[in-house]
């Protein structure tokens, strides 16, 4: 249960990080992020199952596809509305985009759930291969999901903390005008943010596909990632990761004796945070000035 909660927390963290990156870069809460995760699952399903590509060939093609989706998403949703006088216009557009993506997926792949085999499969049982850790059987798919999540998180931290490119993206997101005065092409930094953000969500889709099957309801995972973002502190990547892992663990352990109400438990805790500590665990409290 601990590993299940942690692995799911990692998936929520991938989505939550993407949400935070977009909020920080362009100030947009992307309500289509769950559907982008779902799209990632369908694309990797097609490459692995329909085109029967080996994993080493699938990964670079999938990453290119994720980047293309991000660019298309940015130029069709964000770019036309970037100067809109009504600030909620882009947010509403992302809501519309979530519906469009879901319907497109249903048109292309149909509404029937699809089976994506686990990365390490037990041919005898039809389930994932199991690892025995301290006498407990644990699915390798969960272990790999947790490891991929950790790797992706490490890569994002490396980019923003250690690499010059990350500093440029960070600078452009903090002050677009000043960044442009310094010659930083903000269209490229914005595109890079979209690519990183949406790729993270799509990787999450690839990891959960074998566990949850590839289906059009995968987008609902967004709600848990949102809960992680709010518990961790809106706008804080570290907080979003910790908040998401907390949500994953709460979800796993809340099913003890109250499996029926485990979703309710998560959202009750979210409500408590909104009332008692609205800035989240790592957020900064902002007070209105008189």
């Amino acid at each position: 249960m601990l590993l299940n909660g942690f692995a799911m927390g990692m998936v929520y963290a991938l989505v939550a990080m993407g949400i935070i990156l977009l909020i920080r870069a362009i100030g947009v809460l992307n309500f289509a992020h769950g559907e982008l995760l779902m799209l990632g699952a369908y694309i990797t399903y097609s490459l692995l199952v329909q085109f029967e590509l080996p994993l080493y060939a699938m990964i670079p093609i999938a990453l290119i596809a994720f980047a293309l989706i991000a660019i298309i998403f940015m130029f069709s949703i964000f770019w036309p509305l970037r100067n809109a006088s009504y600030p909620a216009a882009i947010i509403i557009a992302t809501m519309g985009a979530s519906i469009v993506i879901k319907e497109l997926v249903m048109l292309i792949w149909g509404g029937v759930p699809l089976r994506m085999p686990p990365l390490l499969m037990n041919e005898a049982t039809g389930g994932g291969l199991l690892a025995n850790i301290a006498g407990v059987n644990v699915s390798w798919q969960l272990i790999i999901t947790a490891l991929v999540g950790l790797l992706a998180i490490a890569a994002v931290f490396l980019l923003f903390e250690k690499l010059y490119a990350g500093k440029i993206i960070e600078a452009a997101s903090q002050d677009k005008f000043a960044a442009e005065l310094l010659g930083i092409p903000t269209i490229i930094t914005t595109a890079a943010t979209y690519i990183i953000s949406i790729t993270l969500a799509c990787i999450g889709g690839f990891m959960v596909g074998p566990i949850f099957t590839v289906n059009v309801t995968l987008g609902t995972l967004l709600l848990r990632a949102f809960a992680g973002v709010i518990i961790g502190g809106l706008g804080n990547i570290k907080g979003a990761i910790i908040g998401s892992v907390m949500v994953g663990l709460i979800e796993a352990f809340a099913s003890v004796r109250m499996s029926t109400y485990k979703d309710a438990v998560i959202f009750i805790i979210l409500l408590v945070f909104l009332v008692v500590r609205p800035q989240g665990l790592f957020g900064v409290k902002i007070k209105d000035k008189a």
Partner: protein
Amino acid sequence: MNKHRFLMVISLVLSMALLFGATSALAEETVKIGLIAAKTGERQAVGIFSQEGAQYAVDEINAAGGILGHQVELVIEDEVDTLQASVNAATKLLERKDLVAVIGSPYSQNTLAIMPQIEEAKIPFITGGSGDAIAAEGNPYVWQPRNLDSVAAGAIAKYAYEVLGIKNPAILYCTLPTTQAGGFDIRKSYQEKYGIEIDDSMMFGYTEDEKNFGPIIAQVMASGADGILSFSNENPHALLSLAIADAGCTLPRVASSTVTSSVVMSNAGKAANGWIAVADWSAFLDTPSASAFQAGYLAKYGHDTERPSASSYDSVYLVKLACEAANSVTDIEAINAGFAAIKDYPGVLGDMTAQPDHGYLSSIFIVEIVDGKAMLIDTVQYR
């Protein structure tokens, strides 16, 4: 004289024309049967089977001369995958004045939501659902060709306890009203028939959109349960099967009929093997009507039958029998009364005779999933 002969010829020609026209009009006046099925959305797979089964029956009936000389036509409305969409689809059909009957959704809650509308529309409604609550409503226009959930739950408990020796089961159920009732009916059967009280801690409910069954299975394995009894729908059963395989859980398991669906077989693959199911249909039954239906259906559509195909197939035939009993395709009240007169119809789901609770079946099948196929183990006669 010539004038008289001329008038006679004209009269004869006109009479012939009128007679021919009337006959043509009669043949053109098709009998329309409404069908609520998912054509899009997550439940599309189930909906396709419903449509195929009904269309197969319609084609057979039309090839044999139709109903009382009238060709039959299906009017299909898409219930997508939500209760609201299903209610909308049902409303559209019930508001039409040209249908002799409506074949409903395979999901009980979708039928329960429109019970007052059915009674108001006064159109015979053959539900695809198996919920006890449907029968309990006592709606005079609703007919139920499937076995009730309480019957299935009782059979699950009976097989689990008496054959598999499961004394301390973990009961897993989807929290939709009808499947939840099924889960609690299993518990009740254990208590009433075998004197075994099942503790709350052994009852595991989950919502229909639950995806992460890992923690639930981990708890089941740690609970000391000696078997898993499940009452749920297709998609949760697929994910549950995968989670059971992923956890390396080898507990014996018995489930409601949806575990035998193609959604489970295709998504869970080998992980579906080993389920025992209490089902009202299997593609591998050996009764003459079921075998013929399976063979013809496979030849026509290129894949095996499913429970929704069998249910909607029988539903169309029930409409035919009701019309024939009423000797009418227009007197809806007489047709509704005709449903109560159906006796000893050798349906593909089993022999059917109208019962006071508006049900038709008296037996239920026990199947085991072996290599992705639901193989018949036993047939239980319950009334």
